[in-house]
Amino acid sequence: MKALIQFVENKIQPNFEKGGKFHKFHRSFEAFQTFLYVKGDVTRQGSHIRDAVDMKRTMFHVVIALTPVLLFGMWNAGLQHYRALGMDVSFWNEFWFGFLRVLPIVVVSYVVGLAVEFIFAEIRNHEVNEGFLVSGMLIPLIVPVTTPLWMVALATIFAVIIGKEVFGGTGMNILNPALLARAFLFFAYPAFMSGEIWINTTLREGQALVDGFSGATPLAMLAANEVQNLPSVLEMFLGTIPGSIGETSTLAILIGALILIATGVGSLRIILSVVVGGLFMGLLLNLFSVNEFMAIPPYYHLIMGGFAFGAVFMATDPVTASQTPRGKYIYGFLIGVLTVLIRVLNPAYPEGMMLAILLMNVFAPLIDHYVVEANMKRRLKRMKPSTVKVQA
């Protein structure tokens, strides 16, 4: 290991330093160098306290938290495929099939997104932002396994440029880039983002789909008023249901949530308030119960569709969420409420999580503003009586 570090610092680094052959690309070089090792640079003047957990490590924690979801998604893609064909194959066969389908999406997302990031870093002469490490993993997890690769690439470019770079790069974006990629796909190619697209049903010779096969997600079933077809609660919790690659398994997402909370990256406040908001709205709709969708138990909403995934990985994005503690409660609660509202009352959008989070992303700064204002008012009020007393 030491030899490798020595080699990089002594042999390769000079090429990228001032006067070196590849000085033009020193931003890209630094990005790769610091991927595994923190550079030995020290601040010369003044005193600075630096945490070992910089942005790159923070992002890495999220990627680790996403791993269970990704692995489960791969297996589930295979499981659903073979189930649709009526075949009973071993666990590894299922996993291998899903692996071959999901990996290209992940690779395309990373390669395209990082290429855009590096180009912008070189043009604008700033360091390569690490934000895409997470976005690049999130994008594959929130698309159906059947999405064509060029669409993934296009959506990634759109998300990184329009969602992030126009605002000034990582940390300046208003909207969550990964969700923006999905929103782009959702509106640009609706035929590929809704309907019977959740399961890869490519057939080989001599194969046929099972009779009565339905590739609909639980939410689509509910929107079509087919409550009787709904999978069992256990299935929905474990995630052996059709859906986007990473969103189906509430169990895997919970493991990820534990990692996020343990490492302090994800905000427990937001996750909990999203859940409370969803349950609250579910209960409220139960009171009316005009149709069967309104009458389903509120906790169904938590395990169907992208609710859990959105609550844990999307709503907690530290850049686009509210910053103040009280603001986080309001922000999360409204996401939960809006999600269930859109799901149940708007027939055009079976899944409300994406739209709810994007909408609240826009409102997050406003929420923060009023939370801060309210705090200032409260403190001013506390001050007034005392000043009056002194005067008297």
Binding site: W150, M151, I162, V166, F184, F187, A188, Y189, P190, F192
Partner: protein, 220 residues
């Protein structure tokens, strides 16, 4: 301005100053990308190139004519009711344009629907009348009207070009994207048909323009 001087010098028809009236709105004084006026119609009618072109020509006709008329009337309009006079002039011209469109390009007129009538409320026209025609001679006013309408039309056509090409795969209604691309899996981008994408395209145009012209970037 110069007509109050003692010895009025005859100005050339296309002097440097007059040429600037034509060229400035195309670049650093563009009504849409710099002054950010008339955005509504850009969102509404740029789904196709044909409607964009008809709209651009209509606005150019209304703008040039109204600028000239107001400029001719400028010394007789009482300042208190000038807005109403301007509106009447613009509205009459818009009705004329509407009738012409209905007579000759009925289908496009149907697609533009209410937005032909809404040319009356196009802030670029009122803005030029107020800011330029009321205080300038007819010829410069005419050039100013043509120039601003051209600047408006240029953005309209650019947005319309990308929206029709990427959204429908056609230009002026003719298929441009070859069939073999569709066969290998290319799909038209449905987002381009929706108004929000027009806003994003305009935003990208503004971005590129300011990147090339750093003086336009307002520091705030």
């Amino acid at each position: 301005m110069s007509d109050n001087t003692n010895k009025p010098k005859k100005e050339e028809l296309f002097s440097v100053k007059n040429r600037k009236l034509l060229s400035n709105p195309m670049g650093k004084d563009n009504p849409i990308t710099v002054q950010v006026l008339g955005i509504c119609s850009v969102l509404a009618i740029t789904v196709q190139l044909k409607t964009s072109l008809v709209m651009a020509i209509s606005v150019m006709a209304v703008m040039a004519a109204s600028n000239v008329i107001i400029s001719l009337l400028r010394n007789t309009i009482p300042p208190r009711i000038r807005i109403i006079v301007q509106l009447i002039v613009v509205a009459s011209l818009v009705i004329l344009v509407d009738q012409v469109l209905k007579a000759f390009v009925y289908d496009v007129s149907r697609q533009l629907s209410v937005f032909v009538g809404l040319i009356i409320t196009n802030c670029i026209i009122m803005g030029r009348l107020e800011a330029f025609a009321l205080s300038n001679k007819p010829w410069p006013s005419f050039l100013d009207g043509i120039g601003n309408a051209a600047g408006y039309g240029a953005v309209l056509l650019t947005v319309g070009f990308f929206r029709e090409l990427l959204g429908s795969g056609t230009l002026f209604g003719y298929q441009v994207i070859p069939n073999f691309l569709y066969n290998i899996g290319y799909v038209n981008n449905g987002f381009m048909i929706l108004p929000p994408m027009a806003l994003i395209v305009v935003g990208v145009i503004i971005w590129i323009q300011r990147y090339k012209n750093p003086e336009l970037v307002d520091v705030s």
